[in-house]
């Protein structure tokens, strides 16, 4: 049984899970739901056989072994970009999410997409959004420092935040503000004056024909005074000062915990040990993720089933768990209806997530999406497992929290009754997909 948080303290929460209880299928399914997009039965078998430490290592390093897949995806991206619209690119990414051998890399790419949110509704050039997506992927599990430096030069981002022309006499504060408020420090960790000074640091950083350029004529070479330091700072100096702030690690680790562990806002003392590790590793992402995914807190009742699934997690997770496929452009459109079309975050704050995913329209949309995707399930084989076993397998793959006994019994009876009917399994999945439990991760 997962341990109760009552036994945990901020000091012990992030310690490695003790040898007992053994890493079982439920824990493995939890890990894959969070660190990826659900596990298939085969992946669960492999994870339990390999054990927790090895499975987490494998998730963290899978990106290093995926070059053939990456190459294929680059070719597919060119096809999608030839269509010239961001919706095709969304279909491409969903295809990649469905088939990736490195799910954690994609899960973090999606994290960065929400963190450094840039919308195609304003940046209409799909190529620029693709380039940004690749930037996120390159640094997905790497170091926060080069990622921030990259995003500060990223054409899609600078167009989105109106700082594509940032002139000496009219510094644009939009990007500078979000660097502090949404990207690195969090609100209240800086003053309005710091924003103005940081905006001066970025003057002359321009986008010309879709490419970043530095315009020396438009750069303000004067002395800036930023968060207690001063000098003739340029943009990179400004970012260095910001990333040196202790608040940076607290802020980013807090977001990672909300993304991977629980929708609840944990008090600062629970985040502090992770933030300390993040600083000590010079803002490297992977070590912090390793700590999270092997921690006692992550496998506690405070984490399992304590997040609301996002639409992309839900749709892609169902496909991966059941090893089925669908038309990805259509899937993108359906996910838009549920509130998450990739490349179209609602605003610079990204998708608010958590309970915000849930409203009447979205819940019905989710149930309808599962029903539609279930059509892709191959007919039930007569030689397959017994009905009870089959329902339990589905629940294990799809639900973080088991359904009530009477619901399980009802599903088994229904499957039993439908017997070898080709649609029987599909119907069971469509009922599972409408359960409150299905919305949780």
């Amino acid at each position: 049984m997962p341990r109760n948080l009552a036994e945990l303290t901020p000091q012990t929460a992030w310690l490695p899970l003790e040898a007992a209880p053994a890493f079982d299928r439920r824990m493995a399914a939890h890990l894959f739901r969070r660190a990826g997009f659900c596990a298939s039965r085969r992946e669960l078998d492999e994870a339990v056989a390999a054990g927790l430490t090895a499975t987490v290592k494998r998730l963290l390093t899978a990106g290093e072994r995926s070059s053939a897949f990456d190459e294929e995806m680059r070719k597919f991206a060119e096809v999608a970009l030839a269509a010239g619209n961001p919706q095709s690119l969304a279909g491409w990414w969903l295809h990649r999410l469905r088939h990736t051998p490195a799910p954690l890399v994609e899960k973090m790419t999606l994290f960065w997409h929400g963190h450094f949110a840039t919308s195609a509704a304003k940046v209409r050039d799909a190529r620029l959004l693709y380039d940004q997506n690749e930037l996120f992927r390159r640094h997905a599990l790497g170091n926060f420092r080069p990622l921030v430096r990259g995003i500060a030069r990223d054409p899609a981002m600078l167009l989105y935040l109106d700082s594509a022309t940032n002139r000496k006499n009219h510094p644009n504060e939009n990007f500078a503000r979000e660097v502090m408020e949404l990207f690195c420090l969090g609100i209240g960790r800086y003053s309005e004056r710091d924003i103005r000074e940081l905006a001066r640091c970025f003057t002359g950083w321009e986008i010309l024909h879709g490419k970043f350029t530095f315009n020396t004529y438009q750069h303000d070479y004067g002395t800036k005074s930023l968060l207690g330091q001063s000098g003739p700072f340029d943009g990179d100096d400004g970012l260095r000062v910001i990333l040196e702030q202790p608040a940076c690690a607290e802020f980013l680790c807090g977001k990672l915990v909300r993304y991977f562990v629980t929708d609840e806002d944990l008090p600062a003392e629970w985040i502090a040990p992770l933030a300390q590790q993040f600083r000590e590793s010079d803002l490297a992402i992977a070590p912090v993720l390793e700590t999270i995914f092997t921690s006692r807190l992550f496998y506690s009742e405070r984490a399992i089933g304590q997040k609301v699934r996002g639409p992309v997690e839900l749709g892609v997770g169902l496909l991966r768990a059941l090893e089925i496929n669908t038309n990805m452009i259509q899937l993108a459109e359906r996910l838009r209806e549920l509130g998450q079309l990739v490349f179209f975050p609602p605003n610079v704050k990204g998708w608010p997530g958590g309970k915000n995913w849930i409203d009447s329209s979205a819940l019905l949309g989710r149930a309808n999406l599962v029903r539609a995707l279930a059509d892709n399930i191959p007919p039930r084989s007569a030689a397959g497992p017994a009905s009870g076993e089959q329902i339990d397998q589905l629940a294990e793959l799809l639900l973080a929290v088991p359904p009530p006994a009477e619901v399980r019994a009802g599903l088994i009876a229904q499957l039993e009754q439908a017997g070898g009917m080709p649609g029987a399994l599909r119907q069971a999945v469509s009922v599972l997909g409408a359960l409150p439990e299905f919305q949780l991760s």
């Binding site: 609602p346 409203d359 329209s361 149930a367 619901v407 599903l411 009922v431 409408a434």
Partner: protein, 415 residues
Amino acid sequence: MQNASRRKFLASISAAASAGLVSLAPRAPGFLLESAALGADRPAGDRILVVVQLSGGNDGLNTVIPYGDEIYRKKRPSLALGADNVIKLERDLGLHPRMKGAETLLEKRWLAVVQGVGYPNPNRSHFESMDIWHTAHTQPQDRAAGWLGRSFDAQRAAGRGSADPPGMHLGAESQPLALAARDVPSPSIRSLDQFQLRVDGDAQRASAIQAAASAPRRQASELLKFVQTRTTAALEISRRITAANQGYKTPVAYPETELAGKLKQVAQLIDAGLSTRVYYVALDGFDTHSDQANAHAGLLDQLAGGLAAFAEDLQNHGHLDRVVTLAFSEFGRRVEENASRGTDHGAAAPVFLVGSKVKPGLIGQHPKLDDLADGDIKFHTDFRCVYAALLAKWLGWPVEPILGEGFAPAAVLQA
């Protein structure tokens, strides 16, 4: 009633209303009845705002027409409509002849025409001006959230969140910035189908899902309880909407137009009992730079016909006293027509309010055509004063945190 005398009657009503001096009630007993009804009014928490956005810049001057004005006829050689054509209102003003629906609404005293609405230093870019109307910020400052979205955030922050999304957008276009919020998302749905649990006509499956979702959960976490409550509520709404869809009976014949279709769906959602407070739909095509006459006439027909059918339907289902509809456009158009028998981007224009609780008739003076700014009509009523009335006097929400100071609610609703 004869046409002429009816028009006279209409004119007398709207004249009294715009003068703001005379009680609108024709007789004392009626007046008493009306105030008694207002006293027993539904709480503000039950009231609904429907926004109809007229995208592209509606030519206000050919909507509420100063047909007797020399300048109007001179500046609009091909587009001017004369006394014989318009639906006459008062003092040489008339509605575009294709706005028959508006005539009906005026007769029932369900339509307010607020004239001369705009804002200082008008922006003539569609994008900028629409952003200004959406955010209620005239300066290009923070345009991340709209006036309605910010209100949703404020309501939730004050602990007054709702089970259903507070705002909902119906339509295929991207979501209007007006609904964008920092924290509370509003869904955009293309049609009511999206609001129904699809079970392929299998009633058994529907009830299986209903039973499975509502079965008691022992030791449920707070989050699971939350999702279960929302799920059972959503299934209930779906059931109501499906029933409403199948059995939604209305004696009202909605016109076969896109706008009327959307408004009919809004009526169904309202009737299904959602706790949504704001519905948002758009009608595009008002950017009439060339050969305006026919296109504009068709749009006004669609607008007035849709609004009239919608109000009639709401009345039939007993909701009209809790629904106000606002129709606005990002700007009006240039007084002088261009060389292509069209009009270019202008400034102030009328907005429309529909409902049984609006102050009926013409509100405010028709802007003077001999007193223009850069060839455009000057505003006398800031659109934020109309918003303020809708926020404070209709939805019962705070104004200043959303719009800032200095926007007194315009007198567009019944006291």
